[in-house]
């Protein structure tokens, strides 16, 4: 049983086919990773699936409903949540408030009670804050709760984005390079966190360059190259695929080696 299915997705920017005929599907509790060289179209694919870009072709189904072309907030209301490769945190709000915004869809939000701060608004706010603090604790940011998010270090912001995405209690979670800029310990924590989330039945789609992490936690891997699907399979199948080694893993491995 799949919850998110993207079929034959395509988009071009000024004649360049950034994504061209890509499809994938993911089931609850499953971790699907999407890998590929820089510029392969991974982030663009996420932007299409989350409703930020309109694809020029293809369809997206979420829990048996055709959601192609829906706006991001409508998709969020149907249980889709995501993080961003280039951080998109609310800089001028505290870490806790960032996560509280993540609970937007779980809150009753009407204007007049807010303007007059009725007791029910205060009560709900207290509950939302408690839930946000729990989530912050789960990503190791409890102490940063009342710090302006703009002054947090990069790795903390990455985890803050995950907490905010989880706050919506999504059914599908798209993570765009959650471990980028994180040290080995933080990467380990993110690894645990992603598994926990998947174990709770959330379908996770992961874009990540850290091959150790990807190979360890993925149920399946989709490899993209220049917007086109190159291979798909289990971590073992993908790792041993000569095409993948040539297009990405070999070169990527060399780069990792060069960096080390």
């Amino acid at each position: 049983m799949t919850i998110l299915t993207a079929t034959d997705i395509g988009i071009s920017f000024g004649g360049v086919k950034a994504v061209d005929g890509v499809g994938f599907s993911v089931s609850p509790g499953q971790i699907l990773s999407i890998i590929g060289p820089n510029g392969a179209g991974k982030t663009t694919l996420f932007n299409i699936v989350s409703g930020i870009y309109a694809a020029s072709r293809g369809t997206i189904h979420l829990a048996d409903e055709d959601v192609t072309g829906l706006s991001p907030h409508d998709l969020a209301a149907r249980g889709l949540s995501r993080t961003f490769q280039n951080l998109q945190i609310f800089q001028r709000m505290t870490a806790c408030e960032n996560v509280m915004v993540g609970r937007h869809l779980r809150e009753k939000c009407s204007l007049l009670p807010a303007l007059f701060r009725t007791p029910s608004v205060t009560r709900q706010n207290r509950e939302t804050r408690a839930a946000a603090l729990d989530l912050l604790a789960s990503v190791g940011l409890k102490d940063a709760a009342d710090v302006p998010a703009g002054s947090l270090p990069y790795g903390a912001c990455k985890r803050l984005e995950i907490a905010r995405a989880l706050a919506a209690e999504p059914r599908v979670l798209l993570l765009d390079e959650p471990a980028a800029g994180c040290n080995a310990v933080e990467t380990e924590e993110i690894d645990h966190l992603i598994r926990q989330v998947a174990d709770r039945g959330v379908a996770v789609v992961l874009v990540e360059h850290d091959m150790k992490l990807v190979m360890k936690i993925s149920d399946r891997i989709l490899v993209l190259e220049r917007g086109r699907p190159l291979a798909e399979g289990t971590p073992r199948e993908v790792r041993d695929d000569p095409k993948v080694v040539e297009a990405y893993l070999g070169q990527h491995g060399a780069r990792e080696a060069a960096r080390a």
Binding site: I52, F90, C109
Partner: protein
Amino acid sequence: MGALLNQRFMTLAVLAVVIAVLPLVFPSSYYFRVASLVWVSALAAIGLNILMGQAGQVSLGHAAFFGIGAYAVAIGPTHLGIPPWAAILVGAVLSAVLAYLVGRPILRLKGHYLAIATLGLGVLIALVISTESGWTGGPDGMPVERLTLFGWRVSGSNTWYWVTGALLLIGTWIALNLDETPTGRAFRALHDSEVAAQVVGVDVARFKLQAFVIAAVYASIAGSALAFMNGFINPDQAGFLHSVELVTIVVLGGLGSIVGSIVGAAVLVTLPQALTIFHEYEHLLLGLIIIVSMIFMRNGIVPSLSGLFLRRARS
């Protein structure tokens, strides 16, 4: 949580005390009048600050709504026999409806484009007011009937000082209320990152529109108050210069700071009065003071000063 509640309470308490105590040092009724002008400008600026400082959307035509509120209480009783107090509500509803209808298409625009579109709205409303002279008295303006509330004739600088002061308190209370609510958070979230707000489910268009309508209603009520207070109204109140003045108050006092809008209004209303002793250099000096304070307090007066105090207190 408790601290935040306290901060809101403290702000309101200090404001109430300031309003209550100021008259003790006023040498003449002229001061009551100037202070009332500050309260009215602050009220309009607080609304605009919700739109600009919190939701991050600019409006360069906001005096249009001030004008609608002002002319509603002028035209309603004079031409249509609406009771003066009800005309305030009519103005507020008209402003809200206009903001809602116009806001839907123009709030899709961003940055400079939104600035120009709102500027256009302001120019248009001011133009309608000056040309429909049968209703509005045209460029010369028109008189406004006195406000009567339950048989009480509201008149005189002293009385209006208390009425506008009370309005400012209510307006401040409501604006501060928003802070710790899903609506207030949605405003600030879409200001910082529209795309991130959208993917957590914030209907960005809806919340921009809400902020625009709130700001319009604040301006409208402030306009009604000023019209009653002056007993006379002319199209300048709806004009471009007044829109610029409102934006200046918000930015000078501090974007996003409610207290800042009150301080900004106090500075921008009283400074020209104080500078009249410099005769022809008055406007030059006013401009210079605004430029210099923006250079040295680029986040606005209140955020810059409170930041400075916090740093002092920590070190």
